[in-house]
Point group: C2
Chain length 346, copies 2
């Protein structure tokens, strides 16, 4: 008697590339009016009513961007799609199409790819994009996922990184540093699990759901951006926070040819981030917030005079302001001391 | 005295990610009026006058798509860009922007990336696209290159894979099978070089420049497509030949819900392809033409009545015709025998 308990594992070679692509694509039904040609042709075709086409690409590599020991395939797909769409949204544009290519080695099965594409599909649905191109190819070196997001923007609303001006307010869509803590928690539990550290306790993920979710399943501030557009508030500059807050502030100030002052006590950090930091002696919530990365929040600048228009409902934090280039990039402590604002590699 | 003979090798870590991206991007000056925002922001922005946005992505993986033993980095960059742009051109669209992301491991140096981007830049210049996004990230597993091409199309000229109709002529922009022979030559010389085969002769690449160039440095039939548009000849369907002629014909027929007849003696095969095949007993020029891949020619269909308008200057080969679905997919021999037309995995 065959009492299967193992999940089904179908070798990719058995199904063949084209059948596999068809199977993975079958669930993706285009819903945007602008999508004219989707999966199954050489290229994707869109007819955008607004005049600007905005596109961005994210490449995720096994071992550097994600560790499959603790990063479920579904979330790898989800997060890569989020990253690509977030870059389009950071121009104050709306992502409408996703192009997906996965490179997979022989250790992956058809069902693994279905998990991967389940996550991509979930992210696409959540943010209103159609998946318009799917390709699978063989890899000798683990999993590689490349996602391109294509969207549209109204020319008058476009937010470039380079548009910040002296006295502009530096704003943030949500708290930072939590995703980095989530990563540290997963890395710690992997070390326990593989016996690298002396700790015979069971993995302790309970109570830390918030930071885990911020790392594995981040969200984008879509509604905030929609509300700002609705209220005719146009960011003078914007960028997606994926490499840390310092990196974001510096990239806007450098691209805009300005200086920037960031107020340490204005940086929003979640209670859960502080709580986890207390469990590990080497973890600083401030360092996580400034340099941790993977936040997927929007960092943007607004003219000083828009301060009055910012209703509390926006739930934006004003964390500093743009200043003249001669004043440099500074982190201002609660005591008023000015430290240099730095980011690795910048 | 320091008499350097070795080429300069700058570790990537020494330069840092952002300086490296700046250095690689510095040579890419946008020239298309439609390019509004290029390298250095979250996403690329284009303002297309024609109403359709066409985009395609190509992922190239070390070990499967290219072997760096014989594939110079410059050509890896060039060919990946050609593939992405060719997919856009296969919709009868014009590629105008390229987004580039490279994943590189520690065995690569800054100068290696400069070679890679030299090739991408050369392809972009040759076909009129701007490089609008550059990102570099670390990889544990060799070189990964992802290129997305974004372009525009006139809605009335769009050529989908699915538009072929019964009696349409199947046309080909150039000869096929040469690139596959180039790959086989390079693989043979690698085996000789690494001592896998008993052969103490020096690599014999001379006299085979044509097939090598077709594999390493393919060209796209841009002028042909421009001339067809100028003469108001619109393909009813089109695809880029990258996985073999059989694959292309089957993909058009399947997408269009038709059958297809391909005439064996009409398939254009270069003299150099035949010549190289004679040096190796296992190589068939016909098999290379049908299933070899990497041709980067355009396969397209035209209504039967456009036959008269096709001037000889186009240099197109008519290699078969579309037929009713009930007649299936056939390869017709010079003697009139009909063999099944098949492609691996389809």
């Amino acid at each position: 008697m065959n009492t299967k308990k193992e999940p089904q594992r179908t070798p990719i070679a058995e199904m063949g590339k084209y059948k596999l692509i068809d199977r993975l694509s079958a669930k993706f039904i285009s819903s945007n009016e602008s999508t004219l040609q989707g999966v199954g042709d050489d290229a994707a075709v869109a007819c955008f009513k607004e005049s600007l086409t905005v596109s961005a690409q994210k490449l995720s590599l096994e071992g550097t961007d994600f560790d499959l020991c603790y990063f479920p395939l579904k979330f790898v797909g989800y997060k890569t799609a989020i990253h690509a769409m977030g870059q389009v949204m950071a121009m104050n544009a709306v992502p409408l199409q996703l192009l997906v290519t996965a490179g997979v080695s022989q250790r992956f099965y058809v069902e693994d790819l279905e998990s991967l594409f389940l996550g991509i599909g979930a992210a696409a649905r959540l943010y209103g994009a159609d998946i318009v191109s799917v390709d699978i190819q063989s890899s000798f070196t683990g999993l590689t996922l490349s996602v391109t997001a294509v969207g549209e923007a109204d020319a008058g609303l476009l937010a470039r990184r380079s548009g910040a001006r002296d006295t502009d307010l530096i704003c943030l869509s949500g708290n930072v540093g939590a995703a980095y803590m989530g990563l540290k928690l997963l890395e710690r539990e992997k070390r326990v699990f593989t016996g690298e550290t002396e700790n015979d306790e069971m993995p302790k993920l309970k109570g830390h759901e918030y930071i885990l979710e911020r790392y594995l399943k981040p969200e984008l501030p879509k509604t905030l951006l929609e509300n700002l557009r609705k209220d005719d508030i146009i960011p003078t500059s914007m960028c997606l926070l994926s490499s840390g807050l310092s990196n974001g502030v510096l990239s806007i100030a450098q691209a805009s040819g300005t200086g920037a002052k960031l107020f340490l006590d204005k940086i929003p950090i979640a209670r859960e981030t502080f709580e986890f930091a207390e469990t590990e002696k080497d973890l600083s919530p401030i360092v996580a917030a400034l340099n941790g990365g993977d936040d997927y929040e929007m960092l943007f600048t607004l003219p000083l005079n828009s301060y009055g228009e910012l209703s509390k409902e926006y739930n934006i934090d004003i964390i500093g302001h743009i200043c003249d280039a001669s004043l440099g990039y500074k982190l201002v402590t609660p005591e008023g001391r000015e430290l240099p604002l730095e980011s690795p590699g910048m």
